[in-house]
C-alpha cells in the first residue's frame, strides 16, 4: 500500500502565479468541491440555493450555489466539504429523483478583478456585464472566446470567477491575460 500523501495534494492545471495588472488582475482560484446537481421541481425549497432564480447565485465564504438552468445547479464548497455537501443535498431533497455528480476535478476557476475586469471579459464574452444587466449574484454558463465557461459574480465588487473545464484552463487563463493587457 502506497502512502496516501501521494494524492493529498491536488495537481491543478494552472500555476499559482497571479498575473497582475492594476486594472484587471487575473489569477487562478484555489481548488474546491463542485457538484453538478440536477433536480426538477425543487424551486420551492430554500436550502442550497434551490430557490434561486435562473442565472442567480448565492455565496458565503467558499460555499456557493449557482442556478444555471431550470433544473441545474452548480454547488461549490471548500475542498474538505464534499461529504458535508452531499449530506446537505440528501437532507434537502430526501428521496426526490435527482442527479448529483462530482465535477470538482472537471472545473477549474480563474478570477479576474479590477476596474477593467468586465471590459477584459468582454474581449471574449458576448454578454452585457454592466451592473444593471449582470449584477452581484449573477451566474451563467456562457462563452469566452472559443471556450465554454461558467461566469460567476458573487458580489458587487468588480470580481468575476470564470469556471471552465480543466483542459480549457490554459486557454481561458491565457485569453484573460491577453484581454487584461489589451483592455
Amino acid at each position: 500500500m502506497l502512502d496516501r500523501s501521494l494524492v493529498a495534494r491536488r495537481d491543478r492545471p494552472l500555476g499559482a502565479a497571479p498575473t497582475s495588472n492594476d486594472r484587471a488582475r487575473v489569477a487562478p482560484a484555489p481548488a474546491g468541491v463542485r457538484l453538478s446537481l440536477r433536480v426538477r421541481g425543487a424551486e420551492g425549497l430554500s436550502s442550497l440555493g434551490l430557490g434561486l432564480a435562473i442565472n442567480r447565485m448565492s455565496a458565503e465564504g467558499e460555499r456557493f450555489s449557482a442556478r444555471l438552468g431550470p433544473d441545474e445547479w452548480l454547488l461549490g464548497a471548500g475542498e474538505a466539504e464534499l461529504e458535508t455537501l452531499e449530506g446537505e443535498i440528501a437532507a434537502a431533497l430526501g428521496d426526490r429523483f435527482r442527479s448529483v455528480v462530482d465535477v470538482s476535478h472537471r472545473n477549474v476557476a480563474v478570477e479576474i478583478a479590477g476596474p477593467d475586469a468586465a471590459s477584459a471579459l468582454n474581449a471574449g464574452c458576448p454578454l452585457d456585464l454592466s451592473d444593471a444587466a449582470f449584477p452581484a449574484g449573477s451566474a451563467t454558463r456562457t462563452l469566452l472566446g472559443k471556450a465554454e465557461i461558467v461566469l460567476l459574480r458573487p458580489t458587487a465588487e468588480p470580481l468575476y470567477r470564470v469556471e471552465c473545464w480543466r483542459s480549457f484552463a490554459t486557454y481561458v487563463h491565457g485569453f484573460l491575460v491577453e484581454a487584461a493587457r489589451t483592455a
Binding site: 500500500m1 502506497l2 502512502d3 496516501r4 500523501s5 501521494l6 494524492v7 493529498a8 495534494r9 491536488r10 495537481d11 491543478r12 492545471p13 481548488a31 453538478s36 440536477r38 433544473d71 429523483f97 435527482r98 442527479s99 455528480v101 462530482d102 465535477v103 470538482s104 476535478h105 472537471r106 471590459s119 468582454n122 474581449a123 471574449g124 464574452c125 458576448p126 454578454l127 452585457d128 454592466s130 444587466a133 472566446g145 472559443k146 471556450a147 473545464w165 480543466r166 483542459s167 480549457f168 490554459t170 486557454y171 491565457g174 485569453f175 491577453e178 484581454a179 493587457r181 489589451t182 483592455a183
Partner: protein, 994 residues
C-alpha cells in the same frame, strides 16, 4: 522652403509640433494633426498614385474615407507594412514611410501608362472577348500577363507583429457619426441617463463643424458649440466616446461592428496596446448620423491630379491650413461649393466659380460670391482639363439646352468640383432597411427601417445645419425613449443642387474619357458600352464594367453611374435599381476581425493531466479534435516505427501504460437510465448487472454508426458511459436532444464527466501485478473481477473507478481517478511497473494493438456511411428491442441490399509491405480506367507482434471473398493482398481473460 503650400494661418494642425515622414523616398514635413494627404498637399505634391487599369496619374480627390485614388503603401516599422492606405485617412506622424503603388519604375515615369494609349482597346469587358486563341496561350501567356497587371499595392510578406483586440459592448443607444447631427443625438440621448456609445471615424468629433469655420450654432461659433458638446458628453459616465472608430457593419438584431484604430497614429504606443480593436456593439437603438458624400462631376480628364471635390478643397484649407492650389476653379451644380469658394477666397487664394446651372437656378450664393470679388460663370459645361500630371487649366463653355458654346480655358492649378451630395446610407442598407429614391434630392434615402434604427442629418438627406441638429436631437431623444426635442438656431447652410450626369460636351463622344469610377478606370463611355451590350440592371453594369467595385466601393461613383445608366436607358432611376450595400463600409483589417484569436488563442489546445509527464518523457503528440494526445514515445535514436514496434511488443509481452483521459465520459443518472440507454444504443441494457460493462454502439437516426464506447453500470440508476475522444461533444448533444425533446417523460439526467476523470490504461499480461499493490478495496482476481466489469475503490488513496476492460485484447485495466490525481497515480503506477518493464505507449501503438484484434475505431473503419452490419457488429443489436435510434433506417432497401462494403482483414502478399490507409482495392488491376473499386483500406500498420503488416478494409461483399486475392493501390502500383479475417492476433481471445 518647407511646406510651401501651407497657409500662413488657420487649420487645426498643431504648428508647434512639426513632423516628418517620407513619400517615395522624399522627406515630407507637416504638422501634428495632418493627414498624409494634407501634408503632401502642403508640400505641393499632387501626383500620388497610378490608376488600376490605365496607370493614369492620380492625385487626391477627397479628404476622407471615400478616397478612391490616393492609395499608398505604408510602412510603420518592421513587419508593419501594408498596401492601399488612403492618404486622406492615414494620420501623418514621424516614422512613417509611404510610397505610391502600381507604378514601375517610378511614379512620374510609369511604363504601365502604355495601357492608357491602348485604352480604346481596353474597354469594359474587353477580356471576355479575346485571349481565347490559341487555347494554350491562355494558361501560358494571356492569363499570367493579366494577373501580373492586376492589384494595387503589395501584400504583406511577413507575420504581423501587432496585436488586435476585441470587445463586446452593449448600449441603449449607439450613434454612428459625430458630426452636428450625431453630436446633437448624443446630447439628447445622454441626458436620459441611458448608456450611449458615440463613434466617429475621424480622430476628432465634429464632422463638418471641423471645417465649417464660419458657422454658428445658438449664437456661438460652431467650434465653441462643438467643444461644449463634447465636454458635456465626456462628463457622463454612461457615455462612451469612440473617435477613430468606424462602424463598418450593421448585422442582424442591432449587432453593429466597429473598428477602432488605437495605435497607428502614435509614434510610441503604450505597451501592450493593440493596433486596432473590434467593437461588437449590441445596441437597443441605433442612430445613423453618417453624413453624405460629395459627387464628382463627369467630364473628360476629370481625373487629373489637382482635380478634387469642392468640399475637400475647403477641408484642406480650413481644417489643415493647406492651399491645394493657388488658383482654384470651382465647378458645381449646387450651392455648397460656394461656401468652399468663399473660404478659399478668404484664405487669399485666387478663385473662379463655374456653375453648371443657369443663372436663374442659382441661389443667392452666386450674388454673394460675386460681392466678394469672385468671377462666377453660370450656365456652363466643362469640356475637359488641361495639364499632364497636374491640372493646368479647365476648359469650360456656356451650355444651354444641350447646345455648347465657345470654349474658354481657365488657367488653374486646382479644380474643386461638386455634383451634389449622396447620403451615406450604407449602414442603413446593411441593416436591411428599404431605400427610397427621392427625386428632389436626387438620392436614395432611408425609407422603412428594418431594425431599431433612425437615420438623421445628411445621411437622411438633410443638409441644413439647423435641421441636422434638430433632427439629430429628436432622434437621440426618441432612441433613448425620452420625450422632448429642441430647436437649434444655426447659420444658414447653402444647400440644394441640380442633378447632372455626364456633362454635355462639344467633343467627339467616342473620344471623351470622363471617369466615373476613378480607381477602376471606368468611364461614362464604358457604362454606355455595357448598356449597348444588354447589361441593363445596375448589378450587371457594375459587374461588367467593375464600376463601384474598387476599394472605395463606389462611394464617389455609384450615383453618377446610376444616373448615367438611367439617363441613357431613359428609365427612371429607381427602375435601374440600387446596389445592395454590404459590409464593410470601409475596408477592415483581417487582424481586427481575428482579434486575439491568433497563435495560442486561435483554438484551445486541450491537454490531459498526464500531458506534462508525457512531454517530459519524450512523447510526440498528435492533434485529435482539440486534444493533443501522446502519439508515441520514441527514445533517442529510435524512429517512430521502432518506437511503436517496441511499445506494441511491450504490451503483449509485459505491460504498457496509456493515457486514455481524452475519452468522452457521460454520467447517465435516473430511474429511467436503462430505458434511455436502450433507446440510444443498439444494445440491450436492462439486464446488464451493476458492476458490469458492455461495449455500446450508437447510431444516428439514418442508421449509420455515430459512436461507440464501453458503458459501465455503476448502480441500477447510474451508468458511466464512455465515448470516442472526438465524438464526446457530439454524443452528449445527441443524447440531450433525444432526452429533452423526444422523451422528456424519462427521469434521466446527463452530466459530462470527461474531464472529471483521468483515465490510465494499464494493459498487458502483467497489468494486474502492477496495479495490485496500489489498489485498495477491490478484489482483482479473475473470478471476483472478470473482464468487462467495473469496481469502485481506491488507488494510492485516491477514489477510483476501476474498469477491467481492454482495447488491446490483452488483460487490461482502465483506472479512472479524479483528474487532479491523475499524474500522481500515473507516476505511482509507472513506478510500480518498473520491475515489469512497464512501457508508456501512445495512440499509434494503441491503434496497432486494437487492429491486431480487429477492433474498429469509429471514424477510421467507419465514416458516416457505415452500418453495424458493415463492420460485422450486427450481433450487438438487441433483437428484442422494438425500437432504438437508427433501427428503422437499417431496414431501408439499399441498406439491406447486397454489395455493401464489409469489414475484412487484408494480408499483403509481401509481408513487410504496409499499405496506405485510404488505398483503393480492385479485383482486376488490368481493368482500364475508370476502374471498378471494391473498397478501401481503413487501417494499416506493421504489426511487430504478428511479424508482418496487417490491414483492415471495407470491401464490397467482403465477407464472401475470404481467401481471394485482391489488388491494392500503392504509390508504386498495385500490390496483391488476400482477404482474411479481421482478427490477426489471438483469434481465440483467451488473453483478455487472463
Amino acid at each position: 522652403m518647407a511646406q510651401p503650400h501651407r497657409l500662413p494661418q488657420g487649420g487645426r494642425v498643431d504648428r508647434a509640433t512639426p513632423i516628418r515622414f517620407s513619400f517615395d523616398g522624399r522627406t515630407i514635413e507637416g504638422f501634428a494633426g495632418d493627414t498624409v494627404a494634407s501634408a503632401l498637399l502642403a508640400n505641393g505634391v499632387h501626383l500620388v498614385g497610378r490608376s488600376f487599369k490605365y496607370h493614369r496619374p492620380r492625385g487626391i480627390l477627397t479628404h476622407g474615407s471615400d478616397e478612391p485614388s490616393a492609395l499608398l503603401q505604408v510602412d510603420r516599422g518592421p513587419g508593419k507594412i501594408d498596401p492601399n492606405n488612403r492618404a486622406t485617412v492615414v494620420e501623418a506622424r514621424n516614422g512613417l514611410t509611404t510610397s505610391s503603388q502600381n507604378r514601375w519604375p517610378s511614379l512620374a515615369f510609369d511604363v504601365g501608362a502604355v495601357n492608357d494609349l491602348l485604352s480604346s482597346v481596353f474597354v469594359a469587358g474587353f477580356y471576355y472577348k479575346t485571349f481565347m486563341w490559341p487555347r494554350s496561350f491562355w494558361d501560358k501567356v494571356y492569363e499570367p500577363v493579366i494577373r501580373a497587371a492586376a492589384g494595387l499595392g503589395v501584400a504583406p510578406q511577413v507575420a504581423d507583429p501587432d496585436a488586435y483586440a476585441n470587445r463586446h459592448a452593449h448600449c441603449d443607444v449607439l450613434i454612428v457619426g459625430a458630426g452636428p447631427a450625431g453630436l446633437a443625438a448624443a446630447l439628447a440621448a445622454a441626458k436620459s441617463g441611458k448608456r450611449v456609445i458615440l463613434a466617429d471615424e475621424q480622430p476628432e468629433f465634429g464632422g463638418s463643424l471641423l471645417h465649417d469655420t464660419t458657422a454658428t450654432i445658438d449664437g456661438q461659433s460652431a467650434e465653441a458649440w462643438r467643444i461644449a458638446a463634447i465636454e458635456e458628453l465626456d462628463g457622463y459616465e454612461t457615455v462612451t466616446l469612440l473617435p477613430r472608430t468606424t462602424a463598418f457593419g450593421y448585422y442582424n438584431h442591432n449587432h453593429v461592428a466597429l473598428t477602432e484604430r488605437v495605435t497607428d497614429h502614435r509614434e510610441t504606443p503604450a505597451k501592450g496596446a493593440p493596433r486596432e480593436r473590434l467593437w461588437q456593439v449590441r445596441a437597443g437603438e441605433v442612430v445613423l448620423a453618417t453624413g453624405s458624400h460629395e459627387r464628382p462631376l463627369v467630364f473628360a480628364d476629370n481625373d487629373r491630379p489637382g482635380v478634387m471635390l469642392a468640399e475637400s478643397v475647403r477641408v484642406f484649407i480650413n481644417r489643415y491650413g493647406v492651399a491645394p492650389g493657388r488658383r482654384i476653379v470651382f465647378v458645381t451644380s449646387g450651392a455648397s461649393a460656394y461656401a468652399a469658394a468663399a473660404d478659399a477666397k478668404a484664405a487669399g487664394l485666387e478663385v473662379v466659380m463655374v456653375d453648371l446651372r443657369p443663372e436663374r437656378d442659382c441661389g443667392p450664393e452666386a450674388a454673394d460670391l460675386r460681392l466678394k470679388g469672385v468671377e462666377v460663370l453660370t450656365g456652363q459645361t466643362v469640356i475637359e482639363t488641361k495639364g499632364r500630371k497636374r491640372v493646368a487649366g479647365l476648359v469650360v463653355a456656356p451650355c444651354a439646352n444641350g447646345t455648347v458654346g465657345d470654349r474658354r480655358v481657365i488657367a488653374c492649378d486646382c479644380v474643386g468640383m461638386s455634383g451634389g451630395w449622396t447620403p451615406a446610407v450604407h449602414l442603413f442598407s446593411q441593416s436591411r432597411g428599404k431605400l427610397a429614391y427621392d427625386e428632389g434630392r436626387d438620392a436614395f434615402l432611408p425609407g422603412v427601417s428594418a431594425q431599431a434604427e433612425r437615420s438623421v442629418g445628411a445621411a437622411a438627406g438633410l443638409y441644413d445645419l439647423a435641421t441636422c441638429l434638430t433632427s439629430g436631437y429628436a432622434a437621440g431623444a426618441a432612441a433613448a425613449g425620452v420625450a422632448g426635442g429642441r430647436a437649434f438656431a444655426a447659420s444658414q447652410t447653402p444647400t440644394g443642387f441640380t442633378p447632372v450626369r455626364d456633362l454635355p460636351t462639344d467633343a467627339n463622344p467616342a473620344k471623351v474619357r470622363a471617369f466615373v469610377d476613378f480607381q477602376n478606370d471606368v468611364t461614362a463611355k464604358d457604362l454606355k458600352l455595357a448598356m449597348r451590350e444588354g447589361f441593363e440592371s445596375i448589378e450587371h453594369v457594375k459587374r461588367y464594367t467593375t464600376t463601384g467595385m474598387a476599394t472605395d466601393q463606389g462611394k464617389t461613383s455609384n450615383m453618377n453611374a446610376l444616373g448615367i445608366v438611367s439617363k441613357a436607358l431613359g428609365r427612371p432611376l429607381p427602375a435601374i435599381g440600387t446596389t445592395t450595400f454590404r459590409p464593410p463600409y470601409t475596408p477592415v483589417t483581417f487582424g481586427a476581425l481575428v482579434g486575439p484569436a491568433r497563435d495560442a488563442l486561435f483554438d484551445p489546445i486541450r491537454t490531459t493531466p498526464i500531458h506534462e509527464w508525457a512531454a517530459e518523457h519524450g512523447a510526440a503528440f498528435e492533434n485529435v479534435a482539440l486534444w493533443r494526445r501522446a502519439w508515441h514515445f520514441a527514445r533517442p535514436g529510435e524512429d517512430m516505427h521502432a518506437a511503436v514496434d517496441r511499445e506494441c511488443r511491450a504490451v503483449r509481452e509485459g505491460v504498457g501504460i496509456f493515457d486514455a483521459s481524452t475519452l468522452g465520459k457521460i454520467e447517465v443518472v435516473g430511474p429511467d437510465a436503462a430505458e434511455f440507454m436502450n433507446r440510444m444504443y443498439v444494445n440491450p441494457w436492462t439486464k446488464l448487472g451493476v458492476g458490469r460493462c458492455r461495449y455500446g454502439l450508437m447510431l444516428k437516426e439514418d442508421g449509420y454508426i455515430l459512436d461507440d464506447g464501453v458503458v459501465a453500470r455503476m448502480a441500477e440508476d447510474r451508468f458511466h458511459v464512455t465515448t470516442t475522444t472526438g465524438g464526446a461533444p457530439r454524443v452528449m448533444n445527441h443524447m440531450e436532444d433525444y432526452l429533452q425533446t423526444e422523451w422528456p417523460d424519462l427521469d434521466v439526467f446527463l452530466t459530462s464527466t470527461t474531464e472529471q476523470w483521468a483515465v490510465i490504461a494499464v494493459q498487458g499480461p502483467r497489468a494486474r501485478d502492477v496495479i495490485a499493490p496500489l489498489v485498495s478495496g477491490i478484489d482483482l482476481s479473475n473470478e471476483a473481477f472478470p473482464h468487462m466489469s467495473v469496481r469502485e475503490g481506491a488507488i494510492c488513496g485516491a477514489p477510483c473507478r476501476l474498469f477491467r476492460v481492454s482495447f488491446t485484447g490483452d488483460l487490461g485495466f482502465e483506472i479512472n481517478v479524479p483528474a487532479d490525481y491523475g499524474r500522481a497515480v500515473w507516476e505511482a503506477v509507472f513506478a510500480a511497473g518498473e520491475p515489469y518493464g512497464i512501457t508508456p505507449y501512445g495512440t499509434e501503438a494503441m491503434h496497432v494493438l486494437r487492429a491486431e484484434k480487429g477492433y474498429i475505431i469509429v471514424g477510421q473503419e467507419t465514416d458516416g456511411t457505415v452500418t453495424p452490419d458493415d463492420v460485422g457488429l450486427a450481433g450487438m443489436i438487441a433483437k428484442a428491442k422494438k425500437d432504438f435510434v437508427g433501427k428503422r433506417s437499417l431496414a431501408r432497401p439499399d441498406v439491406v441490399a447486397a454489395g455493401r462494403k464489409q469489414l475484412v482483414g487484408l494480408a499483403t502478399e509481401t509481408a513487410a509491405l504496409v499499405l496506405d490507409e485510404g488505398a483503393q482495392i480492385v479485383a482486376d488491376p488490368g481493368e482500364p480506367i475508370p476502374m471498378t473499386m471494391l473498397g478501401h483500406v481503413t487501417s494499416s500498420y506493421f504489426s511487430a507482434n504478428c511479424g508482418r503488416s496487417i490491414a483492415l478494409a471495407l470491401v464490397a461483399d467482403g465477407r464472401a471473398l475470404m481467401g481471394r486475392t485482391l489488388h491494392v493501390t500503392t504509390p508504386a502500383g498495385f500490390a496483391a493482398a488476400t482477404v482474411c479475417d479481421p482478427v490477426f492476433f489471438d483469434s481465440e481471445g483467451g488473453r483478455i481473460h487472463a
